[in-house]
Symmetry: C2
Subunit: 195 residues, 2 copies
DNA sequence: TATCCAATGTTTTCATTAGAAACATTAAAA
DNA sequence: TTTTAATGTTTCTAATGAAAACATTGGATA
Protein backbone atom coordinates (compact mmCIF):
# COMPACT_ATOMS: atom_id res chain seq x y z
CA UNK A 1 0.00 0.00 0.00
CA UNK A 2 2.18 2.81 -1.29
CA UNK A 3 -0.58 5.45 -1.49
CA UNK A 4 -0.68 7.80 1.47
CA UNK A 5 -3.31 6.24 3.71
CA UNK A 6 -4.09 7.77 7.08
CA UNK A 7 -4.61 4.27 8.49
CA UNK A 8 -1.14 2.79 8.95
CA UNK A 9 -0.77 -0.97 8.92
CA UNK A 10 0.26 -1.01 12.52
CA UNK A 11 -2.17 0.70 14.77
CA UNK A 12 0.48 1.43 17.34
CA UNK A 13 -1.70 1.61 20.41
CA UNK A 14 -4.25 -1.05 19.74
CA UNK A 15 -4.26 -2.77 23.09
CA UNK A 16 -5.23 0.38 24.92
CA UNK A 17 -7.78 1.36 22.29
CA UNK A 18 -9.40 -2.07 22.48
CA UNK A 19 -9.77 -1.76 26.21
CA UNK A 20 -11.26 1.69 25.91
CA UNK A 21 -13.66 0.52 23.24
CA UNK A 22 -14.72 -2.38 25.42
CA UNK A 23 -15.17 -0.10 28.42
CA UNK A 24 -17.30 2.16 26.26
CA UNK A 25 -19.50 -0.71 25.22
CA UNK A 26 -19.88 -1.83 28.80
CA UNK A 27 -21.16 1.62 29.66
CA UNK A 28 -23.59 1.79 26.77
CA UNK A 29 -25.03 -1.65 26.47
CA UNK A 30 -25.28 -2.24 30.18
CA UNK A 31 -24.61 -5.88 29.55
CA UNK A 32 -21.41 -7.80 29.14
CA UNK A 33 -22.64 -9.57 26.04
CA UNK A 34 -20.56 -7.47 23.69
CA UNK A 35 -18.66 -9.17 20.94
CA UNK A 36 -14.97 -9.13 20.26
CA UNK A 37 -15.70 -8.35 16.63
CA UNK A 38 -17.70 -5.27 17.49
CA UNK A 39 -14.79 -4.03 19.54
CA UNK A 40 -12.45 -4.64 16.64
CA UNK A 41 -14.86 -2.73 14.41
CA UNK A 42 -14.88 0.22 16.77
CA UNK A 43 -11.13 0.22 16.92
CA UNK A 44 -11.10 0.26 13.11
CA UNK A 45 -9.18 -2.94 12.86
CA UNK A 46 -9.74 -6.43 11.49
CA UNK A 47 -11.72 -8.86 13.60
CA UNK A 48 -8.69 -10.99 14.24
CA UNK A 49 -6.42 -8.22 15.38
CA UNK A 50 -7.53 -8.34 19.03
CA UNK A 51 -6.16 -11.87 19.27
CA UNK A 52 -2.66 -10.42 18.99
CA UNK A 53 -3.24 -8.73 22.34
CA UNK A 54 -5.68 -11.03 24.11
CA UNK A 55 -5.54 -14.78 23.82
CA UNK A 56 -9.31 -14.98 23.95
CA UNK A 57 -12.39 -13.14 25.06
CA UNK A 58 -11.97 -14.12 28.70
CA UNK A 59 -8.50 -12.58 28.67
CA UNK A 60 -9.99 -9.26 27.60
CA UNK A 61 -12.74 -9.53 30.21
CA UNK A 62 -10.08 -10.21 32.82
CA UNK A 63 -8.17 -7.13 31.74
CA UNK A 64 -11.34 -5.05 31.87
CA UNK A 65 -12.06 -6.26 35.38
CA UNK A 66 -8.51 -5.40 36.35
CA UNK A 67 -8.93 -1.87 35.01
CA UNK A 68 -12.19 -1.68 36.91
CA UNK A 69 -10.57 -2.66 40.17
CA UNK A 70 -7.92 -0.02 39.68
CA UNK A 71 -10.46 2.69 38.94
CA UNK A 72 -12.58 1.62 41.87
CA UNK A 73 -9.58 1.55 44.17
CA UNK A 74 -8.70 5.10 43.17
CA UNK A 75 -12.21 6.33 43.81
CA UNK A 76 -12.39 4.59 47.17
CA UNK A 77 -9.08 5.94 48.41
CA UNK A 78 -10.14 9.35 47.14
CA UNK A 79 -13.20 9.07 49.34
CA UNK A 80 -11.19 8.61 52.52
CA UNK A 81 -11.45 11.56 54.90
CA UNK A 82 -9.24 10.89 57.87
CA UNK A 83 -10.50 13.82 59.90
CA UNK A 84 -14.08 12.60 60.13
CA UNK A 85 -15.31 10.30 62.90
CA UNK A 86 -14.84 6.69 62.02
CA UNK A 87 -18.55 6.02 61.57
CA UNK A 88 -18.84 8.75 58.99
CA UNK A 89 -15.74 7.54 57.26
CA UNK A 90 -17.27 4.11 56.96
CA UNK A 91 -20.47 5.56 55.52
CA UNK A 92 -18.51 7.73 53.11
CA UNK A 93 -16.50 4.79 51.82
CA UNK A 94 -19.61 2.66 51.51
CA UNK A 95 -21.32 5.36 49.50
CA UNK A 96 -18.33 5.76 47.24
CA UNK A 97 -18.32 2.01 46.76
CA UNK A 98 -21.98 1.90 45.81
CA UNK A 99 -21.62 4.94 43.61
CA UNK A 100 -18.89 3.29 41.62
CA UNK A 101 -21.07 0.25 41.12
CA UNK A 102 -24.14 2.14 40.04
CA UNK A 103 -22.11 4.40 37.76
CA UNK A 104 -20.43 1.44 36.09
CA UNK A 105 -23.03 -1.29 36.37
CA UNK A 106 -21.78 -3.65 33.68
CA UNK A 107 -18.18 -3.21 34.71
CA UNK A 108 -18.99 -3.74 38.37
CA UNK A 109 -20.87 -6.92 37.65
CA UNK A 110 -18.05 -8.15 35.49
CA UNK A 111 -15.61 -7.52 38.30
CA UNK A 112 -17.65 -9.62 40.69
CA UNK A 113 -18.90 -12.18 38.22
CA UNK A 114 -16.06 -14.69 37.95
CA UNK A 115 -16.49 -14.58 34.19
CA UNK A 116 -13.26 -12.73 34.39
CA UNK A 117 -11.18 -15.53 35.82
CA UNK A 118 -9.92 -16.77 39.16
CA UNK A 119 -7.51 -14.02 40.00
CA UNK A 120 -10.26 -11.45 40.14
CA UNK A 121 -11.58 -12.94 43.34
CA UNK A 122 -8.48 -11.70 45.12
CA UNK A 123 -8.92 -8.24 43.67
CA UNK A 124 -12.53 -8.21 44.78
CA UNK A 125 -11.48 -9.19 48.28
CA UNK A 126 -8.79 -6.56 48.29
CA UNK A 127 -11.40 -3.96 47.42
CA UNK A 128 -13.70 -5.09 50.18
CA UNK A 129 -10.67 -5.02 52.47
CA UNK A 130 -10.82 -1.26 52.62
CA UNK A 131 -14.07 -1.58 54.50
CA UNK A 132 -12.69 -4.23 56.81
CA UNK A 133 -9.70 -2.10 57.68
CA UNK A 134 -11.99 0.71 58.69
CA UNK A 135 -14.02 -1.66 60.84
CA UNK A 136 -10.92 -2.78 62.65
CA UNK A 137 -9.83 0.80 63.28
CA UNK A 138 -13.30 1.53 64.57
CA UNK A 139 -13.03 -1.27 67.06
CA UNK A 140 -9.59 -0.19 68.19
CA UNK A 141 -10.86 3.34 68.71
CA UNK A 142 -13.78 2.02 70.69
CA UNK A 143 -16.40 3.32 68.31
CA UNK A 144 -17.54 -0.09 67.17
CA UNK A 145 -18.65 -3.12 69.12
CA UNK A 146 -15.81 -5.51 69.71
CA UNK A 147 -17.32 -8.91 69.66
CA UNK A 148 -17.26 -10.45 66.20
CA UNK A 149 -15.11 -8.45 63.83
CA UNK A 150 -15.51 -11.11 61.19
CA UNK A 151 -19.26 -11.03 61.48
CA UNK A 152 -19.27 -7.28 61.18
CA UNK A 153 -16.98 -7.54 58.22
CA UNK A 154 -19.25 -10.00 56.48
CA UNK A 155 -22.27 -7.86 57.27
CA UNK A 156 -20.60 -4.75 55.97
CA UNK A 157 -19.37 -6.31 52.74
CA UNK A 158 -22.66 -8.04 52.06
CA UNK A 159 -24.54 -4.82 52.69
CA UNK A 160 -22.58 -2.69 50.26
CA UNK A 161 -22.46 -5.41 47.63
CA UNK A 162 -26.15 -6.14 48.08
CA UNK A 163 -27.16 -2.50 47.91
CA UNK A 164 -25.04 -2.03 44.83
CA UNK A 165 -26.56 -4.99 43.04
CA UNK A 166 -30.12 -4.10 43.98
CA UNK A 167 -29.55 -0.52 42.87
CA UNK A 168 -28.05 -1.66 39.58
CA UNK A 169 -31.08 -3.77 38.84
CA UNK A 170 -33.44 -0.97 39.80
CA UNK A 171 -34.94 -2.92 42.66
CA UNK A 172 -34.64 -0.20 45.29
CA UNK A 173 -38.04 1.29 44.52
CA UNK A 174 -39.01 4.32 46.60
CA UNK A 175 -42.51 2.99 47.32
CA UNK A 176 -40.98 0.10 49.17
CA UNK A 177 -37.70 1.42 50.43
CA UNK A 178 -38.21 5.16 50.74
CA UNK A 179 -36.53 8.02 49.00
CA UNK A 180 -33.04 7.23 50.11
CA UNK A 181 -32.78 3.49 50.67
CA UNK A 182 -29.01 3.40 50.53
CA UNK A 183 -28.58 6.05 53.18
CA UNK A 184 -31.07 4.45 55.54
CA UNK A 185 -29.85 0.91 54.99
CA UNK A 186 -26.34 2.01 55.85
CA UNK A 187 -27.72 3.71 58.95
CA UNK A 188 -29.33 0.46 59.99
CA UNK A 189 -26.07 -1.36 59.43
CA UNK A 190 -24.23 1.16 61.54
CA UNK A 191 -26.68 0.61 64.38
CA UNK A 192 -25.69 -3.02 64.40
CA UNK A 193 -22.02 -2.21 64.45
CA UNK A 194 -21.48 0.98 66.43
CA UNK A 195 -21.50 1.31 70.17
CA UNK B 1 -41.64 -43.01 8.84
CA UNK B 2 -43.76 -46.19 8.92
CA UNK B 3 -41.27 -48.33 10.81
CA UNK B 4 -41.94 -48.67 14.52
CA UNK B 5 -39.73 -45.99 16.03
CA UNK B 6 -39.77 -45.35 19.75
CA UNK B 7 -39.32 -41.64 19.09
CA UNK B 8 -42.70 -40.38 17.90
CA UNK B 9 -42.80 -37.35 15.71
CA UNK B 10 -44.57 -35.33 18.33
CA UNK B 11 -42.76 -35.31 21.59
CA UNK B 12 -45.93 -34.66 23.52
CA UNK B 13 -44.42 -32.94 26.53
CA UNK B 14 -41.64 -30.96 25.00
CA UNK B 15 -42.21 -27.65 26.71
CA UNK B 16 -41.84 -29.16 30.15
CA UNK B 17 -38.87 -31.29 29.11
CA UNK B 18 -37.11 -28.25 27.64
CA UNK B 19 -37.51 -26.38 30.87
CA UNK B 20 -36.20 -29.31 32.87
CA UNK B 21 -33.25 -29.70 30.55
CA UNK B 22 -32.47 -26.01 30.89
CA UNK B 23 -32.75 -26.17 34.65
CA UNK B 24 -30.41 -29.13 34.59
CA UNK B 25 -27.86 -27.21 32.58
CA UNK B 26 -28.12 -24.25 34.91
CA UNK B 27 -27.25 -26.55 37.79
CA UNK B 28 -24.32 -28.17 36.03
CA UNK B 29 -22.62 -25.41 34.13
CA UNK B 30 -23.08 -22.82 36.85
CA UNK B 31 -23.38 -20.20 34.17
CA UNK B 32 -26.30 -19.01 32.14
CA UNK B 33 -24.39 -19.18 28.89
CA UNK B 34 -26.08 -22.37 27.79
CA UNK B 35 -27.29 -22.66 24.23
CA UNK B 36 -30.78 -23.33 22.99
CA UNK B 37 -29.40 -25.96 20.69
CA UNK B 38 -27.79 -27.91 23.50
CA UNK B 39 -31.12 -27.96 25.26
CA UNK B 40 -32.80 -29.24 22.13
CA UNK B 41 -30.11 -31.91 21.88
CA UNK B 42 -30.75 -33.02 25.43
CA UNK B 43 -34.45 -33.17 24.81
CA UNK B 44 -33.74 -35.28 21.74
CA UNK B 45 -35.39 -32.93 19.28
CA UNK B 46 -34.25 -30.80 16.40
CA UNK B 47 -32.63 -27.48 17.16
CA UNK B 48 -35.63 -25.59 15.83
CA UNK B 49 -38.24 -27.39 17.89
CA UNK B 50 -37.85 -25.15 20.96
CA UNK B 51 -39.00 -22.19 18.88
CA UNK B 52 -42.48 -23.77 18.78
CA UNK B 53 -42.67 -23.23 22.52
CA UNK B 54 -40.52 -20.18 23.15
CA UNK B 55 -40.37 -17.25 20.79
CA UNK B 56 -36.68 -16.80 21.52
CA UNK B 57 -34.01 -17.49 24.07
CA UNK B 58 -35.08 -14.68 26.35
CA UNK B 59 -38.57 -16.18 26.51
CA UNK B 60 -37.10 -19.40 27.81
CA UNK B 61 -34.92 -17.55 30.30
CA UNK B 62 -38.00 -15.69 31.49
CA UNK B 63 -39.83 -18.95 31.97
CA UNK B 64 -36.89 -20.39 33.87
CA UNK B 65 -36.81 -17.39 36.15
CA UNK B 66 -40.52 -17.78 36.73
CA UNK B 67 -40.06 -21.40 37.72
CA UNK B 68 -37.24 -20.31 39.98
CA UNK B 69 -39.42 -17.76 41.75
CA UNK B 70 -42.08 -20.37 42.32
CA UNK B 71 -39.61 -22.87 43.74
CA UNK B 72 -38.04 -20.20 45.92
CA UNK B 73 -41.44 -19.06 47.14
CA UNK B 74 -42.30 -22.59 48.16
CA UNK B 75 -39.05 -23.03 50.04
CA UNK B 76 -39.43 -19.71 51.80
CA UNK B 77 -43.01 -20.33 52.93
CA UNK B 78 -41.94 -23.80 54.01
CA UNK B 79 -39.33 -22.15 56.22
CA UNK B 80 -41.91 -20.12 58.13
CA UNK B 81 -42.31 -21.21 61.73
CA UNK B 82 -45.03 -19.12 63.33
CA UNK B 83 -44.35 -20.33 66.85
CA UNK B 84 -40.81 -18.97 67.03
CA UNK B 85 -40.02 -15.45 68.22
CA UNK B 86 -40.07 -12.99 65.38
CA UNK B 87 -36.32 -12.46 65.39
CA UNK B 88 -35.69 -16.14 64.91
CA UNK B 89 -38.33 -16.28 62.21
CA UNK B 90 -36.55 -13.53 60.35
CA UNK B 91 -33.23 -15.33 60.62
CA UNK B 92 -34.82 -18.61 59.51
CA UNK B 93 -36.34 -17.01 56.43
CA UNK B 94 -33.10 -15.24 55.62
CA UNK B 95 -31.20 -18.50 55.85
CA UNK B 96 -33.72 -20.28 53.66
CA UNK B 97 -33.39 -17.44 51.17
CA UNK B 98 -29.62 -17.66 51.08
CA UNK B 99 -29.74 -21.44 50.95
CA UNK B 100 -31.91 -21.36 47.87
CA UNK B 101 -29.50 -18.99 46.20
CA UNK B 102 -26.39 -20.96 47.00
CA UNK B 103 -28.07 -24.23 46.02
CA UNK B 104 -29.21 -22.83 42.69
CA UNK B 105 -26.55 -20.25 41.89
CA UNK B 106 -27.11 -19.89 38.17
CA UNK B 107 -30.87 -19.91 38.53
CA UNK B 108 -30.75 -17.36 41.33
CA UNK B 109 -28.57 -15.03 39.34
CA UNK B 110 -30.83 -15.40 36.36
CA UNK B 111 -33.82 -14.49 38.50
CA UNK B 112 -32.16 -11.29 39.63
CA UNK B 113 -30.29 -10.48 36.46
CA UNK B 114 -32.84 -8.71 34.25
CA UNK B 115 -31.71 -10.93 31.40
CA UNK B 116 -35.03 -12.56 31.97
CA UNK B 117 -37.17 -9.56 31.11
CA UNK B 118 -39.00 -6.73 32.85
CA UNK B 119 -41.69 -8.68 34.63
CA UNK B 120 -39.17 -10.56 36.70
CA UNK B 121 -38.41 -7.44 38.69
CA UNK B 122 -41.87 -7.64 40.23
CA UNK B 123 -41.37 -11.28 41.09
CA UNK B 124 -38.05 -10.47 42.70
CA UNK B 125 -39.68 -7.77 44.76
CA UNK B 126 -42.50 -10.11 45.74
CA UNK B 127 -39.92 -12.57 47.00
CA UNK B 128 -38.15 -9.95 49.04
CA UNK B 129 -41.56 -8.90 50.32
CA UNK B 130 -41.70 -11.92 52.58
CA UNK B 131 -38.86 -10.40 54.55
CA UNK B 132 -40.49 -7.00 54.66
CA UNK B 133 -43.74 -8.45 55.97
CA UNK B 134 -41.85 -10.07 58.79
CA UNK B 135 -40.13 -6.79 59.59
CA UNK B 136 -43.47 -5.05 59.80
CA UNK B 137 -44.87 -7.70 62.11
CA UNK B 138 -41.77 -7.40 64.23
CA UNK B 139 -42.35 -3.70 64.60
CA UNK B 140 -46.01 -4.17 65.46
CA UNK B 141 -45.10 -6.71 68.10
CA UNK B 142 -42.54 -4.35 69.54
CA UNK B 143 -39.60 -6.60 68.85
CA UNK B 144 -38.03 -4.33 66.26
CA UNK B 145 -37.14 -0.69 66.37
CA UNK B 146 -39.89 1.45 64.94
CA UNK B 147 -38.16 4.29 63.25
CA UNK B 148 -37.46 3.66 59.63
CA UNK B 149 -39.24 0.56 58.40
CA UNK B 150 -38.17 1.31 54.87
CA UNK B 151 -34.57 1.63 55.89
CA UNK B 152 -34.71 -1.64 57.75
CA UNK B 153 -36.37 -3.22 54.75
CA UNK B 154 -33.65 -2.02 52.43
CA UNK B 155 -30.98 -3.18 54.86
CA UNK B 156 -32.56 -6.56 55.23
CA UNK B 157 -33.03 -7.17 51.52
CA UNK B 158 -29.57 -5.91 50.66
CA UNK B 159 -28.05 -8.11 53.33
CA UNK B 160 -29.62 -11.36 52.18
CA UNK B 161 -29.05 -10.58 48.53
CA UNK B 162 -25.49 -9.50 49.19
CA UNK B 163 -24.69 -12.53 51.32
CA UNK B 164 -26.20 -14.79 48.68
CA UNK B 165 -24.18 -13.25 45.87
CA UNK B 166 -20.94 -13.24 47.83
CA UNK B 167 -21.50 -16.85 48.84
CA UNK B 168 -22.27 -17.85 45.26
CA UNK B 169 -19.01 -16.35 44.07
CA UNK B 170 -17.08 -17.97 46.88
CA UNK B 171 -16.03 -14.66 48.37
CA UNK B 172 -17.00 -15.44 51.95
CA UNK B 173 -13.64 -16.91 52.83
CA UNK B 174 -13.25 -18.20 56.40
CA UNK B 175 -9.89 -16.49 56.91
CA UNK B 176 -11.55 -13.15 56.49
CA UNK B 177 -15.11 -13.71 57.61
CA UNK B 178 -14.90 -16.60 60.05
CA UNK B 179 -16.37 -20.05 59.93
CA UNK B 180 -19.97 -18.98 59.67
CA UNK B 181 -20.10 -15.59 57.99
CA UNK B 182 -23.77 -15.84 57.08
CA UNK B 183 -24.85 -16.56 60.61
CA UNK B 184 -22.80 -13.77 62.10
CA UNK B 185 -23.66 -11.23 59.43
CA UNK B 186 -27.33 -11.86 60.05
CA UNK B 187 -26.69 -11.45 63.77
CA UNK B 188 -25.11 -8.08 63.11
CA UNK B 189 -28.08 -7.09 60.99
CA UNK B 190 -30.45 -8.09 63.74
CA UNK B 191 -28.57 -5.92 66.21
CA UNK B 192 -29.34 -2.96 64.01
CA UNK B 193 -32.98 -3.84 63.78
CA UNK B 194 -34.10 -5.41 67.04
CA UNK B 195 -34.82 -3.60 70.26
C1' DT C 1 23.85 0.74 6.33
C1' DA C 2 21.65 -3.59 4.80
C1' DT C 3 19.41 -7.58 6.63
C1' DC C 4 16.75 -10.30 9.36
C1' DC C 5 13.18 -11.15 12.63
C1' DA C 6 9.67 -10.69 15.97
C1' DA C 7 5.57 -8.06 16.72
C1' DT C 8 1.40 -6.83 14.98
C1' DG C 9 -2.41 -6.78 11.29
C1' DT C 10 -5.11 -9.07 7.64
C1' DT C 11 -7.50 -12.66 5.08
C1' DT C 12 -9.32 -16.98 4.98
C1' DT C 13 -11.44 -20.74 7.00
C1' DC C 14 -14.15 -23.58 10.28
C1' DA C 15 -17.44 -24.93 13.86
C1' DT C 16 -21.21 -23.19 16.44
C1' DT C 17 -25.01 -20.38 17.35
C1' DA C 18 -29.71 -17.71 17.04
C1' DG C 19 -33.24 -17.36 14.29
C1' DA C 20 -36.33 -17.41 9.97
C1' DA C 21 -38.71 -20.03 6.43
C1' DA C 22 -40.53 -23.82 4.21
C1' DC C 23 -41.96 -28.39 4.68
C1' DA C 24 -43.73 -32.80 7.28
C1' DT C 25 -46.54 -35.19 10.54
C1' DT C 26 -50.10 -35.84 13.62
C1' DA C 27 -53.98 -35.18 16.84
C1' DA C 28 -58.23 -33.47 17.15
C1' DA C 29 -62.18 -30.64 15.53
C1' DA C 30 -65.80 -30.19 12.01
C1' DT D 1 -63.80 -38.65 6.76
C1' DT D 2 -61.73 -34.40 5.91
C1' DT D 3 -59.58 -30.41 7.33
C1' DT D 4 -56.75 -27.77 10.09
C1' DA D 5 -53.90 -26.09 13.70
C1' DA D 6 -50.13 -27.56 16.55
C1' DT D 7 -45.80 -29.29 16.73
C1' DG D 8 -41.32 -31.15 14.63
C1' DT D 9 -37.86 -31.18 10.96
C1' DT D 10 -34.79 -29.48 7.25
C1' DT D 11 -32.68 -25.97 5.22
C1' DC D 12 -30.85 -21.50 5.06
C1' DT D 13 -28.63 -16.97 6.54
C1' DA D 14 -25.88 -13.88 9.27
C1' DA D 15 -22.95 -13.42 13.18
C1' DT D 16 -19.57 -15.06 16.33
C1' DG D 17 -15.10 -17.07 18.55
C1' DA D 18 -11.13 -18.97 17.27
C1' DA D 19 -7.28 -20.97 14.49
C1' DA D 20 -4.11 -20.75 10.51
C1' DA D 21 -1.65 -18.79 6.95
C1' DC D 22 -0.02 -14.69 5.02
C1' DA D 23 1.55 -9.49 4.98
C1' DT D 24 3.83 -5.48 6.80
C1' DT D 25 6.83 -2.97 9.53
C1' DG D 26 10.02 -1.18 13.01
C1' DG D 27 14.03 -2.18 15.27
C1' DA D 28 18.13 -5.28 16.72
C1' DT D 29 22.28 -6.99 14.67
C1' DA D 30 26.10 -7.99 11.64
Amino acid sequence: MTESNNQPYHHGDLRRVLIEAALGMLQEDKGLQFTLREIARRAGVSHAAPYRHFSDKVALLTELAEVGFEKMGEQLTAAIQENLPIEEQLIAIAKAYIKFGTSNPALYQLMFSADAGEKEDERAMATLNILITLLKRGQEEGAFKIRPLQGHAAACCAMVHGLTMLAIHGLLEPEKFGENPIESALATLLEGIAN
